[in-house]
Each structure stands twice: as structure tokens, then as C-alpha cells.
Symmetry: C3
Subunit: 269 residues, 3 copies
């Protein structure tokens, strides 16, 4: 079981190579705001996105996909049906799936759905600190999509949630935290410009689903996805120092980030 | 009450500083085409977008948001319900809200909805000349999303509509016109490339909602939003002279436009 | 009837000039992932996109639009109703319409709809090899949105499908194939980076609808759209060699591609 920063970093490089080699099919049931950026992030990385989110298709597709992302950003009624269908099919088929409980807490429709999906046992739950606290049942959520809690303040909730779901929980913030309830990793990469591009966290959830498809150690794959994503963000700042050009450079960096970038920059603990 | 170009320009600089300082939460119920660009424009500007557009969430959120945008570009049934819910909640809570009646006139579903929403008294109505004429009840609308009338030809309709709704009406075009029924301002900034990027007008509506959250003089905030937006477009042409690169540079410019850009370039009358 | 590569290339240049001159109104009923990119591609080219996809509006609009695109990428229930409405209205009004049967084959909802729409006689059907084979009834489709068959392997299915629908069929791949059941053209332009940007094929369908509005020889207009689009992709690689910057440069190239680019680069046979 991978635990040390060095082991996790070696694994990250290997997992990225596998993603690029296998081009895993990642089914995304995600919000209307970020669907384009998410698909482009997956394509840039080397994965194959498929946004199959209508009922009667979402379930069958989840059975054959490499990984599934369920993101609750704009959950209309038809998509909610498809999300439940996809999650149940993923569980039945053993397909890894990521739940991103966007803005849960005070918003009633998505919060109820998030709790139902949580109880199905997501492979990974990814959110900001307020979302993780809310989905764990320990708090009220943040301000819209923004966290009002900090990452370390969500560490206990994340650990409890990971234990309760027998899954992995990732808390995004200036320093990202990943835990499977026993192991805890922190990734201190990234750039504040990620918060100035919509869907940065949403696309990370999709990338976690891609990585989850290439190895059974989902703590390690989630750490790997986080490292690759946040190191790419750092590389992007060299070519884009404002939100528009950064977003473009970030997609380029996802396509080009390599082992030397990762080993030279990763700040894992 | 601000009237002179100099006063409005001073106010514009102050309002931009407030938006960046307060990061107002702007709820957008908008069309599928532009939701990503709109969120990115708000983030670049320094505001906090939240695309909460499902029934039972849209109303409660409009009660706590800083501003609300309702854009009728692709109004499916569920979104129409959410839009009415959000508008009613915004009115009840005193949240400023912007109505963007995209392509109203001959298209029956959105036109009926636009009239119902108009009668609720939007804080701001923003559209091109044909849309403003159509929503005022004085004409038939344009060709799809394109205006077939010119801005000055819509001036009377805009003034009458502002008076009827006790709100502000903004007419977009080569020279933008803003009126509250008594005061009238014209903004002669911008660039034709804005018409080559989808959702330029739609994102301006969201920016108007952001500015409306920082001051009670919504004539002045709407002028300020228009000046900031169109001056940013001019700055963007220095880095992008074709539609793709212009769109990227425009987001960068929204993030970086400052007082000296505004005072040096604004053409207010 | 245009047959030779030289005649088709002359026609391509003339058709591009007409699109830019007339700015045809192109109605798009398309998937949530690509709607923004599709609208921007049409605007960059010089056409006028209108994403009118709600029932009771989609039909009337299809009667007056210059061309219609129906893309099955994320076909929710309301959009499926609107798509049938738009296709029937297009047929009745003589509006050219393009069907893009994204990921048909194993996915049941879209496959049933694709067959119903096919039977209405689309002016153009555009897809990858697996999609064309599936919609022709000769095979099972690909892996999500990716083709698992190659273009030449779909040539017979394309020819049979064109004959059965009395329309044009375009098969996208490294070398694109266009046929009306009698004539066959191949276009060997483009770049592999098109496969790293989501919606490259989807936007091509919209461009084919724009070109179909400017001449009655829809074999020739479909070839023209393909040449313009894939030559623009080649031009874009000069300014963007990774997915993010390529997508931006591609929109720029659609706006700037000219007769000399086309005559210098087109590889038609």
C-alpha cells in the first residue's frame, strides 16, 4: 500500500503514462457550465470523454465506461434520474465513480441527491471544504460554489466520510487533501488562477475518474490526479498570467506535463 | 443623482473597485450556449458566479444572491419555472435582477415568458434594439439573436419601457444606450469583435447584475458595467485581432482593466 | 454537376465568399458540451448561429432559418421533441438540415431517434465511420464518441445511406469522405489536434448547415464546408501546437482562411 511521498510520486508518473496509453472512456454527468471545459481537459490529458447523461443511456454506459463523474452543479430533473441510474450501474459493474457535490448544503434539491448518492458509496468524493463538510453531514455548506471553510478544518469530516463510504475523499483548496480514512496525503501545488476559471474543480473530478480507471488503489490514483492537475496549473502560469490566457495554457499543460515536471515540482506530504 | 459624464465615470471606477473588493455572488439562469463564458467573465471581473437554475433552488438562492441574471436564450420548461421562481424571489427580497430577453419577438415561448417577467419589474432589462422594442410591446423583434433595428431607433421604446417597469433599460449596439426613463447615457466604446464571440451581450447582462449589487443607483451601475465591459473589449483587441484570440484576451482584460484605462478611454455622453 | 477536384475547389472558394456575404442564420439543436464552440465557429466563419431548441419554437424557426443542425450528443427529452419538430418543419419548408448522429449504435435513446430522423431524409448526415455504419443499419456503432471503424470501411454504408435518404453523407476521419450516392469526394486535410478538442466534428456539422444554405448542390456545399474547416485546422497549427491554443487559433483561422489558403492547401480527390 503506497504511503510515502516518493512512492506516491513514482506512482503518479506511472499512472499518467497509463492514462495516456489507454485513453480511458470517462462518462461525465456534469453541469452545464463546465461540460465543454471538462471534456477538453480530459482530451488534453489523453482520456476520452463521453457526456452520456440521459436516462436509459446513462446506466448502460456506466457499466462499460472506464470511470464515471457525477457532478451536481446544475442538476435538472432528467439529469438527476440519469445520475442515480449511472451511480447504481457503476456500483453494480465495479466501475469507479467520482461524486462532486457542488454547492451542497443549503440548496435542497442537490443536497438530498448528494446524500442519496453518498450512500451508494462513491469511489471518490471531491469537493471544497464546505462541500465535504456538508456531504458528511457535519455542516451547512458554503456560499454558492465557494468554500467558507478551510481545507484543514474539513480534515476530520473528510476522514469520517471516507470511512463511512469506504471510499476516498479529496478536499480541494490552496493545499489539497486526499484521504481514504487511513492514509492522508497533502498536495501543495496549483495556482490561485485556478479559482478564476470556472470549473477548475469540476474538471479535476473528471480527471480523478480517468485516473481511477487505471489502478485499483484509488487513494493513490486520486493523489496522482491531483498532482498532475495542479502541477499543470503551475506550468500554465508561465504562458498565461490572467484568467483567459491561463485557461488556454492550462489545457496545453495537461497535454504536455511530463515526468520531469512532476518530479521537479510536486509538493506531496 | 448622477447625471454628468464626469460623475458617471468617477462612479464607474469606484463601482469596479467595489465589485473586486466584495466579489458579489451573481446567480445566473442563462442559456446553454454562454453559461461557461458568462461564468468566466464574472470570475475574471472579480465577481462570484453561481448558475443555480433548477426549481426549488432558484428562488431561495435569489433571496440571498447579490444579483440575479435571467437570460432567455434557451429557455427549456424546467428553466422557465426556475426563472419565474427566481424573479419573484428577487422582487420579494429586493435583490437586483437583470432580464435579458434574447431573441424575443416572433419566438412564442420566450416572448410570453419575457412579458410575464417584464411585468414583475426587472431592475435592468438589457437587449439589442430589436429585443428592447419587442419586449416593450412596440415591435416584432429581430432575426434570431441579431438586431434588425438600430439603437437610436429603440430609444423611445427604451425610455417608455424603463418608465413602465420603474427600472433601467440598456440597449446594446455600436453605441450603447442606458436609460432609467429620465436620464439617458450613451457609451461609445467597444469593438466589432464583440459581435464575433457568442454571448458577448449575455455576459454583459451578468456583469450588470454584478454591478447592480454594489450600489442602489442602478442607472449608474448599469452605465458603469457597460463602460467597464466595452473598454475591456478595446483593450483586448491589442492582444487578439480575430475571434478566438480576442475572446481569450477579453477575459484577461476584464481582470486587468483599471482606473487609468477607464478614464483614458471611456466615451460617455 | 460538379465532379472534378478543380471544379469543387473553385466552388469551395465561391461558397465561402457567399457564406461570409450572406451570414446565413444557422439553427443548432446540439449537445450541451459543444454549443459554445459551435456558435463561435459559426460566428468566426461569418454565419449567424441561433440555438433555438425548445418545442414550439424549434419548428417555426426551422421554417425560416438558412440551415438547421440536429446533433444527438446529449439528447434530453425536451430536446428530442424539439429535434423532431425542427426536422419536420425543415423538410416541409425546404430548409437544408444536417443530422449528426453522435455515438449512435449501442445507446438506445439516441439510436431510436437517429433512425426516425434518418427516415425524414436529412439533407446531410455527418458522422465518424462507426456512426455512419450504425445509422445506415449496417453495424453496431463505436466506443462512445470515438470511431472504431475507419473511413474507407464505411464507404459502402455511406453510399447506401446517401442513396436511401436521397441526401449527402459525410464520413469524418483522417481523410474525410463525402458522397451523394453517385459522386464521391475525399478531403485529405486537417490535423490530429482536431481530435483533441471536443466538438470538432460537431462544429463541422454546423458549418455544413451554413454552406448548405448558399447553394442547392449539397454534395458540393458539403465538400466545401469540409475543405474550409480542415484547411483552417492546418492553418491553426501554426499558432497553436497543443489542444488549448489550437482551439483558439482554429477559431481565428475560420475567420481569416482565404482563397489562397484553400487553393494552396486543399487535397481533394
Amino acid at each position: 500500500m503506497l504511503r510515502t511521498p516518493d512512492d506516491l510520486l513514482d506512482f503518479t508518473c506511472e499512472a499518467l503514462a497509463r492514462v495516456r496509453d489507454r485513453a480511458p472512456l470517462v462518462q461525465c454527468l456534469t453541469n452545464a457550465v463546465v461540460t465543454n471545459h471538462t471534456a477538453n481537459a480530459l482530451l488534453a490529458l489523453g482520456a476520452a470523454p463521453a457526456m452520456v447523461d440521459v436516462p436509459e443511456e446513462a446506466g448502460p454506459f456506466a457499466s462499460v465506461a472506464g470511470g464515471v463523474l457525477i457532478n451536481l452543479g446544475t442538476p435538472n430533473a432528467e439529469q438527476r434520474t440519469a445520475m442515480t441510474e449511472a451511480a447504481e450501474a457503476a456500483v453494480a459493474a465495479g466501475t469507479p465513480w467520482v461524486l462532486d457535490p457542488v454547492a451542497v448544503g443549503s440548496l435542497p434539491v442537490r443536497t438530498a441527491l448528494a446524500h442519496r448518492l453518498r450512500d451508494l458509496g462513491p469511489t471518490v468524493i471531491r469537493g471544497n471544504a464546505s462541500e465535504v463538510i456538508a456531504v458528511s453531514g457535519a455542516g451547512a455548506g458554503g456560499r454558492g460554489v465557494d468554500a467558507t471553510d478551510d481545507v484543514e478544518g474539513a480534515a476530520d469530516a473528510a476522514t469520517a466520510l471516507a470511512a463511512a463510504t469506504s471510499g476516498v475523499v479529496a478536499v480541494s483548496g490552496p493545499v489539497d487533501l486526499v484521504t481514504d480514512g487511513e492514509r492522508v496525503a497533502r498536495v501543495a501545488n496549483g495556482d490561485v488562477l485556478l479559482t478564476r476559471v470556472t470549473g477548475a474543480g469540476c474538471a479535476l473530478g473528471a480527471v480523478m475518474a480517468a485516473f481511477a480507471s487505471v489502478d485499483d488503489d484509488r487513494f493513490a490514483t486520486t493523489v496522482a490526479a491531483t498532482v498532475v492537475y495542479t502541477v499543470a496549473a503551475e506550468l500554465a502560469t508561465k504562458h498565461g498570467d490572467a484568467p483567459g490566457s491561463f485557461a488556454v495554457a492550462f489545457l496545453d499543460a495537461l497535454a504536455t506535463v511530463d515526468r520531469s515536471d512532476l518530479t521537479g515540482r510536486a509538493r506531496l506530504s
